[in-house]
C-alpha cells in the first residue's frame, strides 16, 4: 500500500460531519467583515483624499491683489505673475479669470451683484515644490516690491486643521480594523473550541489510531476556513453594496472635498483582498487553537 503522506485525503474530509454554515460563526464573520471593509474603506478613502488635497492644494499659495484702481490692480497682477514665474520652485502659475471669480461670488452676491462698480481683487494661484513652499516669506518679499497690495495666502494654513482631522479619522479607521481583526480571531477561537468539544470522541479515536495533532488540526482548519470564506464573502458583498451607494450619493453632491475621498483602484484591490486575509487569519487562529488544545491530550 502506498502512503499518501501525513494528511487525510479527500475522503478524510468526511471524518468531521458535513453541514457547514450551520453555526453562528459564518454569520458573525460576515458582520465582522462587513464592518472591517467599511472601516478600511473609510481609512483608504481618507488617505486618498488627504493625498489629493495635499497634492492639489497643500503646496499652493493664492496671491490676492487688493487694489481699488483697476489699472493699478492689473499692472500689479501682471508684475506679480512675472515675479512668480521667475521664482525657483514654482511649478505652475494660474491667473484666476474674472468670470471665475464672479461665479464663485455669485452665491453670496446674487446674479446681478457684480454688475456695478464693485471692485474685485485679482487672484493668482501658484503651485510650489515643497522646497519653494518653505520659502514663502521670500516670495512675499519679492512680491511686495512689485505689488504693494499683494497678499499671499498659504493654502496649507487653512488646510492644516482639516489634515489633522483626516489623520485622526485615518487612525480611528485603522484602530477599528484592528479591533475587528481581534474580534474575528476571538470568534474563531470560540468556534474552534466548540468544534473540538463537539467532536471530542472522534478526535480521541483518531488520536488513539495514531493521528498526529497536525492531521487533526487540518481537518478543523479546513472546515473553519470554509465557514470563514462564506462569511467573508457575504460581508464583502454587503459592504461593497453600501460603498457603491454612498459613492453615488457623494457624486450627486458634486462636492470637490468629499469627491476627493473617492477610492482609487488600489484601494478596491485592498478591500477585495480582505476576505482572503480573513480566511487566512481564521485558518491560522483555528490551527493554533486546536494544536494548543490537542497538546493537552496525551
Amino acid at each position: 500500500m502506498k502512503l499518501g503522506g501525513d494528511h487525510f485525503g479527500a475522503a478524510g474530509r468526511r471524518l468531521l460531519p458535513e453541514g457547514r454554515i450551520a453555526g453562528p460563526m459564518p454569520w458573525v464573520i460576515a458582520i465582522m467583515m462587513f464592518l472591517t471593509v467599511l472601516a478600511a474603506a473609510l481609512g483608504l478613502g481618507l488617505s486618498s483624499a488627504a493625498a489629493r488635497l495635499d497634492a492639489n492644494v497643500g503646496q499652493r499659495i493664492t496671491v490676492q491683489l487688493i487694489e481699488a484702481n483697476p489699472d493699478a490692480r492689473e499692472r500689479q497682477a501682471r508684475a506679480a505673475e512675472a515675479v512668480l514665474r521667475g521664482f525657483p520652485g514654482i511649478v505652475e502659475v494660474r491667473r484666476i479669470a474674472d468670470a471665475d471669480l464672479a461665479e464663485m461670488l455669485e452665491p453670496w452676491l446674487g446674479a446681478g451683484g457684480l454688475e456695478g462698480d464693485l471692485p474685485l481683487p485679482a487672484m493668482i494661484d501658484a503651485d510650489l515644490t515643497p522646497e519653494a513652499h518653505r520659502r514663502i516669506p521670500a516670495i512675499r518679499t519679492a512680491l511686495s516690491r512689485v505689488a504693494p497690495s499683494a497678499r499671499v495666502d498659504d493654502n496649507a494654513q487653512w488646510l492644516a486643521p482639516l489634515a489633522r482631522l483626516v489623520a485622526a479619522l485615518k487612525w480611528l479607521s485603522a484602530a477599528l480594523v484592528l479591533l475587528m481583526v481581534g474580534a474575528t480571531a476571538a470568534t474563531v477561537v470560540l468556534a474552534a473550541r466548540a468544534a473540538l468539544d463537539t467532536h471530542r470522541s472522534t478526535i480521541e479515536v483518531l488520536h488513539l489510531m495514531g493521528a498526529t495533532d497536525l492531521q487533526v488540526a487540518r481537518l478543523f482548519q479546513r472546515r473553519i476556513a470554509l465557514d470563514a470564506l462564506f462569511g467573508s464573502l457575504v460581508g464583502l458583498v454587503a459592504a461593497f453594496g453600501v460603498l457603491v451607494l454612498i459613492g453615488e450619493r457623494v457624486r450627486a453632491l458634486g462636492s470637490e472635498l468629499l469627491g476627493a475621498a473617492e477610492l482609487p483602484i488600489s484601494a478596491w484591490v485592498i478591500l477585495l483582498l480582505l476576505p482572503v486575509a480573513g480566511v487566512g487569519l481564521a485558518m491560522l487562529v483555528a490551527r493554533w487553537t486546536i494544536l494548543r488544545a490537542l497538546g493537552r491530550l496525551l
Partner: protein, 238 residues
C-alpha cells in the same frame, strides 16, 4: 534482563487516577513478541486500565513501560502517534465514528497512516467480507446491531496489520459462533506475527487457544492465587 523478543515490558508499574488509590499496583511482567495473551479478572480489577497503558491512552503514575523496545513513559508526546499506529485496539464500547459508514470506520487506521484512497478499497472490502458485513458496507453504526458494531470495531483494529492487538471484551456482544470466528481471526493474525492481548470474562474462549498465556488481574495486581492458571507469564524479574 534479556529483553530480546519482548514487545511489552512492565516494571513496577502503578496507575492512579487523580488523588485516589492506585488502580494498578506493582505490575511487572513482559509479553513476548508474537505471543497470545488473555487478560482475565473480575470486574473492576483494572483490566481496562492495563489495556489503556498498552494502547498508549494513559501514562503510568510510576514504573517503567517499554513498548517495542522503547521507554514510552518518558517518550516525547510527538513520537507517540508513530507507536500508536503499530497497535490495533478493540474498545469495549466500540468507539465507532457515528457519522461514518462501516467502510469508512474500518478504513480509518489506513487513512490515518496516509494510505492512498485507491489502495483502500480492496483490503477494507475483504475485511468487511471476513467479518460477515459485506452487505452492510455503507451502513452507519446507528443502524447496525451491537454485534455488527463490534465486528466493525474488530475489523478496524486489525485492518492495518498491527504488531500489537489489544482487545477489550471483543466478543461480549456477538453470538458464540461469531465469537469463535473472531477468535480465529485473532489467532490467524497472531500466527502472522501480531502479538494479541484479549481481555475477557468468557472462560470458554480461554480454552480455544491452547498456546495462549494468561494474565489475571485482581484488585489492580497480577495474581495467580490458585496456581491453576495455564501458562502464567514470566515475571519481569524472573
Amino acid at each position: 534482563m534479556n529483553t530480546a523478543g519482548t514487545i511489552v515490558q512492565f516494571e513496577n508499574v502503578g496507575l492512579r487516577y487523580g488523588t485516589g488509590a492506585e488502580t494498578l499496583s506493582d505490575l511487572s511482567f513482559s509479553l513476548r513478541s508474537g505471543g497470545f495473551y488473555f487478560l482475565t479478572g473480575p470486574s473492576g480489577a483494572g483490566k481496562t486500565s492495563l489495556l489503556k497503558l498498552l494502547y498508549l491512552a494513559q501514562r503510568p503514575s510510576r514504573g517503567l513501560i517499554r513498548l517495542f523496545g522503547e521507554d514510552i513513559v518518558t517518550m516525547p508526546r510527538k513520537r507517540l502517534p508513530g507507536f500508536r499506529r503499530r497497535i490495533g485496539v478493540v474498545f469495549q464500547d466500540f468507539r465507532l465514528v457515528p457519522h461514518l459508514s462501516a467502510f469508512d470506520n474500518i478504513a480509518l487506521p489506513l487513512r490515518v497512516a496516509g494510505v492512498e484512497e485507491r489502495d483502500l478499497t480492496t483490503p477494507v472490502s475483504e475485511m468487511l467480507a471476513w467479518v460477515g458485513l459485506a452487505d452492510r458496507s455503507s451502513a452507519r453504526p446507528a443502524t447496525l446491531s451491537g454485534g455488527e458494531q463490534q465486528r466493525v470495531a474488530i475489523a478496524r483494529a486489525v485492518i492495518a496489520r498491527p504488531e500489537l492487538l489489544v482487545a477489550d471484551e471483543p466478543t461480549g456482544n456477538v453470538d458464540p459462533e461469531m465469537a469463535l470466528r473472531l477468535l480465529h481471526l485473532f489467532d490467524a493474525l497472531n500466527k502472522l506475527g501480531t502479538t494479541v492481548v484479549v481481555a475477557t470474562h468468557d472462560l470458554h474462549l480461554l480454552a480455544r487457544i491452547q498456546r495462549a498465556e494468561m494474565l489475571r488481574l485482581d484488585r489492580g495486581q497480577l495474581a495467580d492465587p490458585t496456581g491453576a492458571l495455564r501458562n502464567p507469564p514470566r515475571r519481569a524479574d524472573a
